[in-house]
Subunit: 441 residues, 2 copies
């Protein structure tokens, strides 16, 4: 790590490069495995990537955007105000509109009395996750999360020195009973004081594409409320990034909606999937002391997310086109999902199973448990030979889970790629699987 | 901090609220004192704030922006690409253009071989400072900086548990000899291994408005190079936020330009002052391992700054209008400075001194040392009575300096306010000073 030598009481330090002097956080920050996968993609001409979680390019609302940009810069006053600093917490009218919209969508408990002071605008919901990690996690703290989970967040928690515990997750989402069991175990080990957070995706999850069952939402919150009453409040970080991309609408209410006292759940949503990743905006809604603290931390980061993007988003959200646009997106992704599922049914070996995506653009595939889909395994190599790329399931598991070393699952992403390419990619993957499976049986 | 009780070997933890469970970083993050000042401003109707470091509103380039926004959204392809994800490090063509431009401006040593791989685009140069702090600073590490310095950065270093040491700074900038003395003292105390960073603003500083003398630039680098050769590489974080707003152009070369081997200096610049704070963009240029690590950390923050802003900035920077626009800004701020200096000369008591701003929009005022300009002192209260606000000098000093408790200086900002209001504000301040000074003599 660095060139420190301890000689008795005398400490001699010698460093050759500045990078020998990185912080602990820096040493814990590693390039995400996904960048290595992307590099593979770039180095293999003609490769079809079913790995990248990008959104559909053609559906990005260019005309809609052009119209509101024009409107914004038409007058000096509104144009200049978009080019000026905003506030760290985010544009007031934007926050007010978000609260109004979310309340109308049933995101909050009627008794919760949530207003614009409970919202923080972030540079994507990713930044909200990062700020929450900064606000709560010290070295050796514990975060509970789904197994499998959104892999980027595993990296974030790791950089803070936190320990992640993966909780059993099935086709109906994370299993509340397992959450409770793990918390009771930790209590027995006198480690409950270390548990700071439960991170849950509640809609069309990345990587499983499934939506948490209604009853489980209430159960999760009730468990955390019991532990809170017992003296151990734990943050429930509810990531609803894909809520607006669920194929069946209206969707069921989020975990947040069961909470009358707004004191445990930090609800986050992204505008990247439902509108544009390029504006880089998302938001968090939660208990005031948490939002206030995260706002102060964000002040040190960047004084607030791009005001230009926020002024633009405000116009887009208030417009009539926004809901029509997300409805259109749902249709586009549902069509892609149908195309993918059809080709999986037609071409994939009988031993392979998959979950039906409830929204978003991820499909979770499982092979018999004797197979290893990892980046150094035969299946991944065979897929590369066939010029197709997937995300190995092992990357989506917390280090405490055996699946983080040996996993027979994979994540396919159908967001960005056109239907024909998707079909071709799936066919290639089918050939790779067919070959790998037949070689070993 | 929280409700932990140690009973012999048995640790009992009881927390009532989630906010009892904040991380150390969160506890160290306090709202900047400046927000308290701003709150004062809002609560006092008719108050003129000479405290806020905002840019001139009227000069924000609305028409220029409208033109390039139109151009961008005119075609589906460029519009959609602005609305899509970018890369974490920042748009490639934007980075290439920045390097070309900076090289042409003499920012780099001819032998340094700096290219686009050495640049990271951030959400303002503030985010570059934050990422550098994350990349290097562990608890009890040491940062050297100017006394007085940019106060926001003091807060950032504090949240990382670092110790800041304020170095004597005069009208020609930070004093290299003092930097060397402090480093030698720390060496004698066997604490040199803890020194990670020297943070220096090299142009029209916040808060002093002065530009670091030519000879001192070379001296600072030479000192750090000697310590590097001795086994202690220290990052020189060069903040050139106000370089493009220096009144005399061309400006002298930055510290970065003296460095042939690109291994100690991380140069940062902001587009907030020279173009628009609302696009929230800045950048850092430095050693590749540092840029790579900061890019990985930024990946966890936000996957990269708003691509919409970057695509827009790229067009603005490459345009012919950009340099003409910054030239116009320099004239506007020079006029404001002249107006402020004239009114200071005409109305301020003879005991009061000030530095002539070399650019930007800050003017540093000093009273005789027996006076206290702090927020709880008589002068500040008198100013509030006169309905005028300034930034007390004490906020700009590192905690190790006596000036952080008792300072007789203040920062006036003339960026945002119109000339007439500026004059009126200065007159009010003159009355407050006159009254305070006569009361005590």
């Amino acid at each position: 790590m660095n060139g420190k030598f301890i000689l008795g009481d005398c400490q001699i330090s010698m460093y050759r490069n500045l990078s020998d002097r990185f912080s602990l956080l820096a040493w814990r920050t590693t390039p995400p495995e996904i960048s290595w996968l992307m590099a593979q993609a770039i180095e293999t001409p003609g490769l079809i990537s079913l790995a990248a979680g990008f959104v559909d390019q053609e559906s990005l609302p260019n005309e809609f955007a052009a119209k509101y940009m024009r409107e914004m810069f038409e007058r000096n006053r509104s144009g200049q105000s978009a080019l000026q600093y905003g506030t760290t917490q985010g544009d007031l009218v934007l926050r007010q509109h978000l609260i109004e919209r979310l309340a109308g969508e049933g995101v909050f408990h009627p008794a919760a009395e949530i207003d614009e002071s409970h919202v923080l605008i972030g540079s994507g919901s990713q930044q909200i996750l990062y700020l929450a990690a900064e606000a709560f996690l010290d070295e050796n703290d514990i975060v509970l999360l789904e197994a499998p989970t959104y892999f980027v967040v595993l990296g974030v928690f790791k950089t803070r020195g936190a320990r992640t515990i993966g909780i059993d997750t099935d086709a109906y989402g994370i299993v509340p009973k397992k959450v409770e069991e793990v918390l009771l175990q930790l209590k027995a080990q006198a480690k409950l004081g270390r548990v700071k957070m439960l991170y849950v995706m509640s809609y069309a999850t990345n990587p499983m594409g499934i939506t948490l069952a209604f009853e489980r939402r209430r159960q999760l919150l009730e468990i955390l409320q019991r532990f809170r009453d017992d003296g151990y409040p734990i943050l429930l970080l509810e990531d609803a990034a894909y809520r607006r991309l669920c194929f069946e609408q209206p969707v069921m209410p989020p975990i947040k909606s069961f909470e009358a006292d707004n004191d445990l759940v930090l609800y986050t949503e992204s505008l990247s999937k439902s509108l544009s990743p390029g504006i880089r905006l998302g938001f968090g809604v939660g208990p005031k002391p948490i939002i206030d603290k995260m706002t102060d931390i964000k002040g040190n980061h960047d004084f607030g997310s791009a005001n230009l993007s926020q002024q633009f988003l405000k116009r887009m959200l208030i417009s009539r086109e926004f809901d029509a646009h997300t409805e259109q997106l749902r249709q586009i992704y549902a069509q892609k999902r149908d195309a993918v599922l059809q080709i999986l049914r037609e071409t994939f070996p009988a031993e392979v199973e998959w979950l039906n995506p409830a929204g978003g653009f991820y499909c979770w595939i499982t092979l018999p448990s004797s197979f290893d889909t990892g980046p150094h395994g035969a299946i991944f190599q065979q897929a590369l030979k066939e010029k197709v790329l997937y995300v190995p399931g092992c990357l989506c598991y917390s280090a405490d889970r055996p699946e983080s070393r040996h996993s027979s699952s994979m994540r396919l992403a159908y967001g960005m790629i056109e239907v024909e390419q998707l079909q071709e990619g799936c066919k290639r993957l089918a050939r790779a699987l067919e070959r790998s499976l037949s070689l070993t049986t």
